[in-house]
Symmetry: C2
Subunit: 194 residues, 2 copies
């Protein structure tokens, strides 16, 4: 039943190893997944958050859009160019508060879809191999990172925000479920999964 | 921008209050959300789990299917019938190990879609009001529960398993992200969100 894992030697030995084609499979479906989960929902689902400085479903989507504009591909470019200064611009985790203001959820879903599509076209056009994936840039908070780590983080970041979006929505029913709360640990997980 | 919340007095005052129509909006889209996230992915994404007695993405889907067959609607029926014995059958959280054996992910996605569609048709046909939602059944582990609590738990359970599925997939890259791990708390959240 199980297919051979990965295309590289490392992938065949360790199914957790980074695989660019497998990563793109996740990155390319995230806009559709968020659309399936969120399109058409009323504000009672979309705009509730987990307290001050936490993200609603709407905020999560805006944050992903900001990442498409300023984080993953721009940072990959800095690494690939291997210029004198390989330090990334810091990422503003709350930029979406201003950028999403006045926009509808439908607009954000379309923006995410379009920007992700453009960014994956760029990523594919680079035709990255092991040599490029091992190139290094400098993260403003934690120093040297490889392009492979950046791309793995992009994938995990998408999935983290899908989990965070599900969690903040589930918590709408924290009280409503009565004694089921003890069987639904998601209702008592704290925020922080950004 | 924000619409009036809910259809009931309680809903208008408290956006976290249970609202049947809003709940159905989530329940009816879960099959599409899981399809958008999982359809066509290789086993390296679908079959990894978080250790013994934890769920892979594939297991999560099988568990949701088992719930459609034996949990939510069958228990709602027991409540609505108000017979002499209103105790629910215990739910087997690992039944999917046998039930999903030999099936493809595509088959499970279709099963979930079909069963959820049938169950929501049943739910809608009941045309539940506040009187029915307050009726009580007996959970084998924690005693009396209302139909409203059962339906709220159904919604939170869907969202919990979506978050769990995202988390187990994200953990594929726990090591691959390097120093980003400190910024991606999902990679170190434990299992248990069933």
């Amino acid at each position: 039943m199980r297919r051979a894992l990965g295309r590289t030697g490392a992938g065949a030995l360790n199914p957790s190893a980074f695989d660019l084609a497998d990563s793109i499979l996740i990155l390319e479906r995230s806009p559709s997944t968020f659309r399936a989960l969120l399109a058409g929902l009323p504000d009672a689902w979309i705009h509730r958050d987990e307290g001050p400085d936490t993200f609603s479903a709407f905020d999560n989507l805006g944050h992903l859009i900001h990442g498409e504009r300023t984080d993953w591909i721009p940072r990959a470019r800095i690494i690939l160019e291997q210029g004198a200064d390989r330090r990334f611009e810091p990422f503003d985790r709350f930029a979406q508060q201003a950028e999403s203001a006045g926009k509808s959820l439908a607009t954000l879903l379309d923006e995410f879809d379009a920007l992700r599509g453009e960014n994956l076209a760029t990523l594919r056009s680079w035709d990255l191999g092991d040599r490029e994936l091992a190139l290094v840039g400098v993260h403003p908070a934690f120093g040297p990172v490889t392009l492979r780590q950046l791309l793995a983080a992009w994938v995990a970041h998408d999935l983290g925000h899908l989990a965070q979006t599900s969690r903040v929505m589930a918590k709408r029913h924290r009280e409503d479920v009565g004694p089921w709360r003890a069987f639904l640990p998601i209702l008592d997980r704290g925020p922080g999964s950004r």
